[in-house]
């Protein structure tokens, strides 16, 4: 913390921006009863924010209105042509469909399994530490590690998945090569990888619930299932909304694991919309069009979040 350039000089930095507030009456540092402006503290953040967030956001918006390309240096303003093209581009719709499909088949188990895990761990069996490690450890793995491990598990001939199925006389399944299976395989991998985070959110919520209702019901003779359904689960409604909301937003942004595992294949069946943006922009060099598609996607994300927030508010 000591090496921040603009503030490293400590004393003089003090509360800056004394222009309007007139508090610097005596010029005597430190006698002010309220902190000064504080603008200098925010300045480094504003700088990186302006450079690496606001600028690219504005730049992307501008690019989406041009025919900007990695191949050509001249770009021309094309108005909303890119957006119009995107709406009639079947690849946009199919990749959007894939994204939505993935979001549904990954989010549901990611919420439900996390809930089950948290309820079981919270039930007070010994070895809390070990359970938490087992469920949360995969979340700490980089995406490449996850895909390396699952490429091996999904290996068609000697991979664990097909060998297990084979021992029951089933299969072999083309986990990543069969168009109708590949997205499910990726969803399964994603559930394994990221459920630990939702599990921790649920566990924290469970640990902060007041136990009085539960105890009262137990005294009245309500059984364990009854109390789970009528007391614990209703108390978790807020958390469930929250976990589901975060999960949907995270799932909509799927790209990394799919890009590494299947590059969107077989036959485009797993290509999510963000990979289409990447393909168009960096492989096809059409940065302008790629920007337009990503802004449409951003709009979708915002609409989904607003709808969810609304539902969330109504719940309260």
């Amino acid at each position: 913390m000591t090496t921040i350039a603009p503030l490293g000089t400590g004393r003089q930095a003090g509360p800056p921006g004394t222009r309007a507030d007139g508090r610097r009456r005596t010029g005597h540092r430190g006698t002010r009863s309220t902190p000064g402006s504080g603008l200098l503290f925010v300045l480094p953040f504003l700088l990186v924010f302006a450079l690496f967030m606001a600028w690219p956001l504005a730049q992307g918006l501008w690019m989406s209105l041009t025919d900007s390309s990695l191949a050509l240096r001249d770009t021309a303003f094309v108005g909303f042509a890119n957006y119009a093209e995107a709406f009639s581009d079947p690849d946009v719709w199919s990749s959007l469909g894939n994204t939505v499909f993935f979001t549904v088949v990954s989010s549901v188990p990611l919420v439900l399994i996390a809930l089950v895990m948290a309820l079981l761990v919270h039930s007070g069996l010994a070895g809390q530490w070990a359970w938490r490690l087992a469920f949360f450890a995969p979340y700490l793995l980089p995406v490449t590690v996850v895909t390396l491990i699952w490429t091996w598990l999904y290996q068609p001939d000697i991979g664990l998945a097909n060998q297990l199925l084979g021992s029951f006389g089933v299969g072999p399944v083309g986990w990543l090569s069969d168009e109708s299976v590949a997205m499910w395989s990726i969803a399964a991998l994603t559930v394994w990888w990221t459920v630990g985070f939702n599990f921790l959110l649920y566990l924290a919520a469970l640990q902060s619930l007041p136990s009085t209702y539960d105890e009262a019901a137990a005294l009245d003779g309500a059984g364990a299932w009854r109390r789970l359904w009528s007391i614990t689960l209703p108390q978790l409604r807020r958390t469930t909304f929250l976990v589901a909301m975060l999960q949907v937003l995270a799932s909509l942004k799927v790209f990394d694991q799919i890009y590494i595992l299947t590059k969107g294949g077989p036959n485009g069946s797993t290509r999510p919309v963000l990979e289409y943006v990447y393909d168009v922009g960096f492989t096809g060099y059409r940065l302008g069009y790629a920007s337009a598609v990503s802004y449409l996607f951003f709009a979708l994300v915002i609409v989904v979040s607003l709808v969810q927030l609304r539902l969330f508010r109504q719940e309260d």
Partner: protein
């Protein structure tokens, strides 16, 4: 994300030892056995891929390639690990990952904590508007910025440099927001005393507010580090030079080169997994608590 920080916030720590509530299960023997079995099965399923990867990594390529459900088909050997380490690029990528994730964490935490303090205690004009913009920016998916950021790096001539990998990752509005909320909760009387004694605003921040905020700053640092260590898309796009790649990116580029050498493939995966598993074991309670108190990490 902002909702996360506001709702799941059990300030009160659960009792340390028996975190669960025995009430939930009742005192029936049967339900305890059922719950225990279900938990054991789930945990086994969750650990299986990792254990299978470990078993694969310590065998010879020939044994791995022979069919059969037995995890160990021949004598154990560290051959796969030796080959990976001999090739050298994994160690280089690990170094890059440490350097990049470390610098991203240092810069992000510094910049965010300063900004959070400014937003929390400052009175400058436009403070509310800037704070609103910052909170709104939490919604921006980083993927949206990738194309224009790449153009920007071309413009600055930074493609294939550490700076290009690091700088765009240090903007963390979510972390600013989380820290600001925490700073808001620190009573100001402490600071006012120091101010009366003539301490500068920076000094108040450094010697009073920061020490009181150590747990939350550590939590933010851990999550920024995990995020940067695991970040894939941006480093992947902005580096072509294998010498500058991070572990996830480097491994992705040589993934196909392993071909059918699954022992080596698993050995490299485990080497890349190791650092964060160690981080987790060291900071387990802090990580678990900080997910709980801030809802951090859902990148």
């Amino acid at each position: 994300m902002s909702a996360t920080a506001t709702t799941v916030r059990p300030r009160r720590r659960p009792p340390r030892a028996a975190t669960g509530s025995p009430m939930l299960l009742g005192h029936g023997r049967l339900s305890r056995v059922l719950a225990g079995t279900a938990l054991a099965v789930l945990a086994a399923v969750w650990l299986l891929p990792l254990l299978w990867a470990i078993a694969t990594s310590v065998q010879s390529e020939q044994d791995v390639a022979s069919p059969g459900l037995s995890p160990f088909k021949g004598p154990l050997t560290a051959e796969a690990f030796r080959r990976i380490l001999d090739r050298g690029n994994v160690t280089l990528w690990a170094f890059n990952s440490f350097l990049i994730a470390g610098l991203v964490t240092l810069i992000t935490v510094t910049v965010s904590a300063l900004a959070a303090y400014g937003f929390s205690r400052g009175t400058f004009r436009g403070r509310r508007a800037l704070l609103a913009v910052t909170v709104a920016a939490i919604m921006v998916p980083p993927q949206l910025l990738v194309v224009p950021l790449f153009e920007q790096m071309l413009l600055f001539n930074l493609v294939d440099t550490y700076a290009a990998v690091i700088l765009p990752q240090v903007v963390a509005p979510m972390m600013v927001f989380i820290l600001k909320r925490f700073f808001d909760g620190i009573p100001r009387e402490l600071e006012d005393a120091a101010r009366l004694d003539g301490a500068s605003e920076f000094r108040v921040f450094r010697s009073i507010v920061l020490p009181l905020s150590r747990p939350i700053v550590a939590a933010v640092a851990i999550f920024v580090f995990i995020g940067a260590w695991n970040n894939f898309m941006w480093p992947f796009i902005v580096t072509n030079d294998p010498d500058l790649m991070t572990l996830p990116v480097g491994l992705a580029t040589v993934k196909d080169a392993f071909g059918i050498q699954y022992a080596q493939s698993m050995a490299s995966a485990l080497l890349a997994a190791l650092p964060l598993i160690v981080v987790f074991l060291l900071f387990q309670r802090r990580i678990v608590d900080s997910v709980a108190t801030t809802g951090l990490g859902g990148s």
